[in-house]
């Protein structure tokens, strides 16, 4: 099965370049292209793509607002935001509205392809420092959250994996730690994502933290 990608950018020529790049990959396909925020929301909701590349400055509705709305309708889509800025606080804000990661607009072709593949297979596409800051903020909100605790949704094994994910381990490390194959770890992750209704690794940790599956101490990387 191919990774289904939606492109949302108001600059036709740039979008074309991006499409050529992605269509060269055998495991990816472009399922739609949006030229403004409104179209992005419509296509994102209808097509429920695996990965969305989303520009921020777009006519009608901004990429930030579009991200927020698409995540409501299609929570399992992973959104990678195309941006000119990578300051921590800026990226943090994008993650908080539901993005899974970001790509600089002048990122190299192989970086773009790499990020799409990584986010799809549940790998992290973010600097651990940012992830940790995001989680600290999310845990501050957790206490105020009225959400009913949904403990018991995950199996023991899935819970173990989520904890290791939270510590910043990649799939290979987790496989070694738990004496599993990387394939099995990936399969477990997909299950966790589906049960949580999220699209990527970071979202899974945030959700796990908010709903009490893990606590902030689990997240603090062990040195």
């Amino acid at each position: 099965m191919k990774i289904r990608v939606l492109l949302a950018d108001d600059h036709v020529v740039l979008r074309e370049g991006m499409r050529n790049l992605i269509e060269r990959e055998k495991d990816m396909e472009i399922v739609g292209e949006a030229g403004d925020g409104e179209e992005a929301i419509k296509l994102g909701t209808e097509l429920k793509p695996d990965v969305i590349l989303m520009d921020i400055v777009m006519p009608k509705v901004s990429g930030v607002e579009a991200t927020r709305l698409i995540k409501e309708a299609s929570p399992s889509s992973a959104i990678l935001v195309l941006t000119g800025y990578s300051d921590d606080r800026y990226i943090l804000g994008l993650l908080e509205v539901g993005a899974c990661g970001y790509l600089l607009k002048n990122a190299r072709g192989n970086e773009i392809i790499g990020a799409i593949r990584a986010v799809y297979s549940g790998e992290s596409v973010l600097d651990p420092v940012i992830v940790h800051r995001l989680l600290r903020r999310a845990s501050g909100l957790a206490r105020e959250s009225e959400e009913v605790e949904a403990k018991g949704l995950l199996s023991h094994r899935e819970l173990d994996i989520l904890r290791l994910v939270a510590q910043g381990m990649n799939n290979e490390d987790i496989a070694n730690e738990l004496f599993l194959s990387v394939r099995t770890v990936k399969a477990h992750l997909t299950n966790i994502f589906n049960k949580f209704g999220v699209g990527c690794r970071t979202e899974a940790i945030v959700k796990g933290l908010r709903e009490g599956y893990i606590i902030l101490e689990d997240v603090t990387p062990k040195s």
Partner: protein
């Protein structure tokens, strides 16, 4: 008994009274005018004949009659009164004029007999001041619009061909099935790096004019972003606290509050040499209160906020104008060696 060296003859008081450039009049305890000078005729439009025996009520509107009564109460009660104070007078032709006034008691023997007023017409100056204020607010608005427009054009218009250039150069070197010589590849790679450098500079330029984070993520994120910068690049400990639900403020309010904080933080860093700053945004009943506090050198405040510009504190005056633009009020607290606090209160 020591005799005073010089005593003003009564005659000269009368001369001063009559020929003073400021309007002067004396009224009895009931408010009836008993004496008025030439300048008073000019100020009020009434002749002296008409003025004598007239009650001052006739010259004041309701609101300003209350003010006159308050002045009277304070003077008779021995309470403090900031003089000169501003009062409004209705001329004979019905036109309202603004006066700067000084009022004193005339005591004869042990008894308070009369009130004496000295008034100067400041209507034109006030009008001029108000015009300057409106003009400077228009300038601020125009400047922000211009900055916003240029930043967007740089970001959206000028950056696009550069981004395309970068994308194409990257494709040349990575396209499969094209055989390129190593030196040629290196040359293209060099160009790719150059294109990216141009993009980077362009973005910094746009960012300085108007940071994207404010438009994309709102004021709270933008405040924390500025705090991050102080911590990382200036070695200043900066904290942001938001109290209450962060409602969505209108764009213009966010922008003006952002600029005020930006200026306050700039002052804390450049002039006050502060090592810590605290930014607090408090959402209250129909208002938002934003506070920027530092532990820097502090300074001596002018008596009135309106005097900021004339005492060389132009940045602070700009903050004041921006606060007024969104219907807010700016307060400053500062003391030599004890840090500075800037407080903006804005209705929402």
């Amino acid at each position: 008994m020591i005799k005073p060296k010089f005593e003003l003859p009564e005659q000269s008081y009368k001369y001063l009274f009559e020929n003073a450039n400021d309007a002067m009049w004396v009224q009895d305890m009931k408010g009836n005018i008993v004496a008025a000078n030439k300048a008073c005729e000019k100020l009020t439009g009434y002749t002296r004949k008409e003025l004598i025996g007239t009650n001052v009520e006739k010259l004041l509107s309701k609101e300003f009659l209350d003010l006159a009564r308050e002045v009277r109460r304070r003077l008779l009660g021995g309470e403090s009164l900031n003089q000169p104070y501003e009062q409004q007078l209705i001329r004979k032709d019905g036109v309202a004029r603004i006066m700067k006034m000084v009022t004193s008691l005339l005591i004869i023997g042990e008894e308070v007999k009369n009130f004496q007023h000295i008034a100067r017409d400041v209507t034109e100056e006030k009008q001029l001041q108000e015009n300057i204020r409106l003009y400077s607010q228009l300038c601020i608005k125009a400047q922000e619009r211009e900055r916003g427009r240029i930043a967007l054009e740089l970001h959206d218009d000028v950056a696009q061909p550069l981004l395309l250039l970068s994308q194409r150069l990257d494709m040349i070197t990575t396209r499969p099935r094209t055989k390129l010589s190593q030196p040629f590849k290196e040359k293209v790679e060099e160009l790719h790096i150059l294109a990216n450098e141009a993009i980077g500079r362009l973005r910094r330029c746009a960012q300085d004019l108007r940071p994207r984070i404010l438009d994309d993520l709102g004021l709270t994120a933008a405040l924390e972003w500025m705090a991050d910068d102080l911590i990382k690049n200036q070695g200043i400990d900066a904290r942001v606290e938001v109290v209450g639900t962060g409602q969505n403020l209108p764009d213009e309010v966010q922008l003006m509050l952002f600029r005020i904080v930006q200026e306050a933080l700039g002052n804390a860093r450049r002039h006050a040499e502060a090592s810590s700053v605290w930014i607090t945004m408090e959402f209250g009943d129909g208002k938002v209160i934003l506070t920027v506090k530092d532990n820097g050198k502090g300074f001596e405040l002018p008596e009135r906020v309106g005097d900021l510009a004339s005492t060389g504190k132009l940045g602070l005056a700009g903050m004041q104008e921006r606060a007024q633009l969104i219907g807010g009020q700016l307060r400053l607290q500062s003391e030599q060696g004890k840090g500075t606090t800037v407080i903006v209160e804005t209705p929402i």
